[in-house]
Amino acid sequence: MSACLDIANLSAVLPNGQRVLRSVSLAVQPGEVRALVGESGAGKTMIGKAVLGVLPSSVRLVEGDMLLEGEDLGRLQPKARRTLIGARTALIPQDPLTALNPSRRIGPQMTDRLVRILGWSGEKADRRTRQLLDEVQIRDPERVLKSYPHELSGGMRQRVLIAAAFAAEPRLIVADEPTTALDVTVQKQILRLIAALQREHGTAILFVTHDLGVVAKISQKVSVLYAGKVVEEADTAALFAAPQHAYTRALMAATPRYTDPFASLKPVDGAVLAGLAAEIAAADLAWRRPHG
C-alpha cells in the first residue's frame, strides 16, 4: 500500500545559499496522524508549504521527491499539481485571524473550493458545509455563514477553518500549529475537535507543533526536526518511552509540565545544541561538495 504522503531527501535553500531543509524524509500513512515537532525556526512550516506547493518565492527546492498518494508532485505540470493538491489536501493554518479573507463572507469562503475546484453543485456544497459546521459544534450555521470574519471570535474562526478543511474529504491535511494562536482554554477544545474529526473521517494529518504535550495527545507517529533536519522519528509512544536522540531528550527536558508554569522558561540544553550544530555543519559541508 502506498503512503498518503512520502517525502524523500527534500532539501531547500535560501537565495544566500543557506539550507533551510536538510534531506528531510518522512511519510504519512493513510488515516494516520504524524506529528512534526521542533522549535520555532526549525523548518516545520516550510515542509508543510513545500508539500502544498506554496513555498515563498525566495525558497528553492534543490533535491528530493514528494509523492502524494503515489503521484510525484515534482513531475506534474503546475496546473495539474495545483488541482491535485486542491482536490486531495487541505490546510488548517496557524492563525485563524489572518487565514480568512476580511472582505468576504464565511459562506462563500467555505464553499468556493467545493464548487469551483471540485465541481460540486452549489446545493451539495451548501449541505456539506452545514454538516461540517455541525460537526465542529457551531450551533447557528445560518449566522456564521453570513458573517464576515471580524464578526467571529478566534475560536469560532478556527472551527470554520477546520470544517472547511474536512469538507472536501481530503486524503491529507496539513495542520500548522492550529492551536498556537488561540487562548489556552480554547486550545484544548480545538485539539479534541481535530482528533475527533480525524477519527471520524479517517484523514491522514501532518500535524506541525512545537509542543510535545500536543504530540502525545494527537499523534501515532512523530518526526523531530532540528534546523531543517529530521533528527529522530518513531512511534509516538516509543518516543516518549525511550527517546533515542540527545536533542529529543533535551527537548523533553525543556517541555513544561502542566503543573509548573515556570518550567517553560527552561531552554534546551546548550551542550546538546552545540553538538548538533557541529554535526549539521559537517553534514552541510559534505552535502555542498557534490552539488558544487
Binding site: 508549504k49 502544498l52 506547493g53 506554496v54 515563498p56 518565492s57 496546473k79 495545483r82 488541482t83 493538491i85 486542491g86 482536490a87 489536501t89 487541505a90 490546510l91 493554518p93 496557524q94 492563525d95 489572518t98 487565514a99 480568512l100 479573507n101 476580511p102 472582505s103 468576504r104 468556493d112 473550493r113 469551483r116 475546484i117 464576515y148 471580524h150 477553518l161
Partner: protein
Amino acid sequence: MLLQRFLIRLLTMLITLFGVAIVVFVVIRVAPGDPIAMMLPPGATDDDIARLRALYGLDKTIVQQFFIWLSGVVRGDFGTSISLRQDVLGLVFNRLPATLELAIVALIMAVAIGGTTAVLGARERGTAVEAGIDIASGAALSIPDFLWGLVLILLFGVLVPIFDISGRVSPQLDLPFATQFYFFESLLRLRFDLTWDLLKHMLMPAVALALPLAAIISQLLKQSLKEVLDLDYVVLARVKGFSETQVILREALKNAALPTLTLVGVQFTFLIGGTVIVERLFSYEGLGNMAIDAVINRDLPLIQGIVLVFALLFVLINLVVDMMYALLNPRLRHG
C-alpha cells in the same frame, strides 16, 4: 451616529467651499490686470471708466463686493460674465458636461490600464514582464499630462494623422442632442456614428490625462497586491487549488484596492485640474478652456463661477471616495 457624521461632513464641505470662494475672490482682485481697461477702446475718458466700474460694482470695497456676490450666489445668481455678457451659471453649465465627459472617460481609461497592468505585474512578479511594466509606468509618470498631449498631437495628429486634434466634434455634423453630454447621449441614442466622431476628438486629450494617473494606479495597486499576496488567506486559496489569476481577482484585488482608492480620489481631482491646459491644447470646448479665456479677459464673475464649480466637484469626489471606501470595507459598513 451616522447622521451626525453626515452632518459634520456636509458642514466641512460648506466651509471648504466658502474658504475657496473668499480666497479666489481676493486673489483675482489683487492680481494685476483690469477687466474694465480691457473692455474699453483706447481713448476712453475717466468718466467712461468710472461709469463701467460702477455698472459692474467694482467701485465698492472688496468686502462689500464679496457680500453682494455672496447674496447673489445664495439665490443661485452668479452674476454676468463681463467678456461674454451672459449669465455665468448658464455658461458654466453649458461647458461643464464636456469637461466631465472628458474627465470620466480619462478616469475609466486610467483605471482600466492601471488595473490591468497592476494585476499582470503582480501575477508575473519577479519576471521580465513586471520589469517592463515598471519601466513603462515610470515613463508614463515622469511626463506630465500636457506634454503627453503634445507628444500625441505630434504622433497621431501630424505624423500619422488618424485622430482629430482640435475641437469636440466635427462642426459639419447635425447634433440631435438634448443635453450637453454629447458622448454619453450618443451612446444612449445608439448613434454610434456620432460616438465615433466624438471619440476621435476626445481620445487623445483623454489619453494624455489618463496616462500619468494610470501609472500611479498601476504602481500603487501592484505594490499592495504583492503585499496582500503573501497573506495567509491568499496562501489558503492557493492550497484550495485556485490559479494565481483567480487568487488575485477573487481574494486579493478588493482588499488591495482600498489604499489605492483613496489616492485615486485625490489624483482624479488633479486630473480635472489638468483638463484646463489639456482642453486648451486640443481646443476642446470644455470648462477648462473657458477658464483660460476668462482669466485672459480678467472676467472676474466668470472666473469665480468656474473656480467655485471646480471646488464643488473636488469636494463631491472626496465624498464619493469616502462612501466607496466604506462600501468596500465591511468593517466600516456597520460602524
